[in-house]
Symmetry: C2
Subunit: 337 residues, 2 copies
Amino acid sequence: MFEPPTLKDIATALGLSTSTVSRALRDTYEISAKTKKLVLEYAEKINYQPNPNALSLKERRSKSIGVVVSEVANHYFSQAINGIESIAYARGYHVIITQTHESYAREKINIQHLASRSVDGLLVSLSAETNDINHLKELHDRGMPMVFFDRVPEDIHTHKITANNEQGAFEATEHLIKSGCRKIAHLTSSAQLSISIERLRGYKAALNNHNIEVNPDYIKHCPHGGMFPEETEQAVLELLNLKDKPDAIFIAGDRLSIGCLEVLKKLNIKVPEEITLAGFSNSDVLNLFEYPLSSVRQPAFEMGKTATEMLLQLIESKYPVTEFEDKVIDTSLFIRD
Amino acid sequence: MFEPPTLKDIATALGLSTSTVSRALRDTYEISAKTKKLVLEYAEKINYQPNPNALSLKERRSKSIGVVVSEVANHYFSQAINGIESIAYARGYHVIITQTHESYAREKINIQHLASRSVDGLLVSLSAETNDINHLKELHDRGMPMVFFDRVPEDIHTHKITANNEQGAFEATEHLIKSGCRKIAHLTSSAQLSISIERLRGYKAALNNHNIEVNPDYIKHCPHGGMFPEETEQAVLELLNLKDKPDAIFIAGDRLSIGCLEVLKKLNIKVPEEITLAGFSNSDVLNLFEYPLSSVRQPAFEMGKTATEMLLQLIESKYPVTEFEDKVIDTSLFIRD
DNA sequence: CTGAAAGCGCTAACAC
DNA sequence: GTGTTAGCGCTTTCAG
């Protein structure tokens, strides 16, 4: 059994009261230098650490924040998490990471878990399956500080931080057009996700701008964001089996890009000779790929940092915050031919 | 301010005592069906959740386990984490993930953070920098349940779970030999890491087995496991600049493999024509790479699961455990030419 | 069957 | 300057 020393242990060992010890440790002014020294040295010696649960109970905050993402294996999220940690650690907060694996049920459970009083605030990116956000709304209404990033809900009024998805999608699609493609398909995640909506909008805008008609057959949604390979495979096959086969695909996500590349490779379809690709991806190994995939990169680290700063501001604010920011950060397009 | 309802809130609202409410909620036998129903319905209505900090304080356990890995972006670790979560969630435990980024200082801080009483046990994979394990030893001596996986220390007596690194390294190296290579280099992580030692041993054994002399110039250590690209680049360049240039490299880790491939690509050195590669990697995109990289895959998910089962057994054991297991799981070699 | 009270480890009035 | 005490939210004797 792991039984760390407590204030009382120090107090009895030193013949003092717990409050004196507590004050000495926290360096209150009204404590004699001698006692302070005595206590500090003894605490150091036995490696005393205050019990965080007792502290949380008392102070009514845990100095920890919860993070909800779909998958840490996704490079966008692992980079964002690094950004989150960089700020949180510097400000003395713990970071508790949970994954939804794009499941709405899992998301509800994780949020539930993190709530109660075990975290002081939440950084959330919605799962692909989520289209009912009542579990979040309720928690938010009851006062849980919350900041959304990347995949954000419409009707919760709080800070949100997103990449400029529309602009990124526009640039990627336009790049395909400028490369000579005209029959550009769009492979994307579930339809209700904010990122899907915005990227679709950018895609359509680029086509419109170049007087290319939007072909509904060219737009394929994967409700689980490519979590299941079959899902992606089927979508890609449907595109390839169209009588008027696309000459390019603009892909809205990392996992989808990988799934798509795998299908093309399996079918031995040459990229970019037979089909050209561009996609949203924060992977750091794209340039090692056999097939070129131009990619829209999101400033993941920076987004994580900013989201965390915003959250800590909410958490530590003395007064209820009513002005919320909707921060949009630019993406950058990396071209590979 | 987020102020969730407490037992007392329910009690006063219903004109009962807190102890009655507590019992009703936990379905004790000595409570009238009527009261129970009343309480349960009200609790449901206001979405009551017990305060986990109060619970932890009382029960002297938090129902959460801490995980220490170097990087969640590493596929081996993200898969292991999925295995860890699968068991932990099923048994009602939280999982708190922390990253060391291969830094010893960060590892110490994370362990410190997780300790005290905020987690019931620890799943640890050492950082590349770590060669002093006193921070862990001390904690372990004071009774913190601990299970090591992947990168394990020598002299802490507890459950350990590793891949059969020596065997995996042997097979990979032998594969290179059978492909006709004779001048096989070894690019690996920091020298004190258990995985480095074991993989080096397998590498040497394979060479010996085929009567190839071990050339010390062919063995390059990267103290930070490829965390810094310059480190890997320098090591690879040193290998390539040898007068007797190697015709193959056996690479001991994921990040190192990527770093190495990037250097080769930059220098326009053809794989496998000019040099053949094999490495430890759990990446799921290797077959999309331009250059073939045969890989030793570790059963990461299974390792995470097993480690968690072992840890929960330690945590929940009524009596001090003195028999410890040293579980070694086989790897598998995936060949790409 | 239900209530009162103690205690988990800590801090913060309030004594003295 | 230091000790005493109450209380954070919960469970658990112990009374009744």
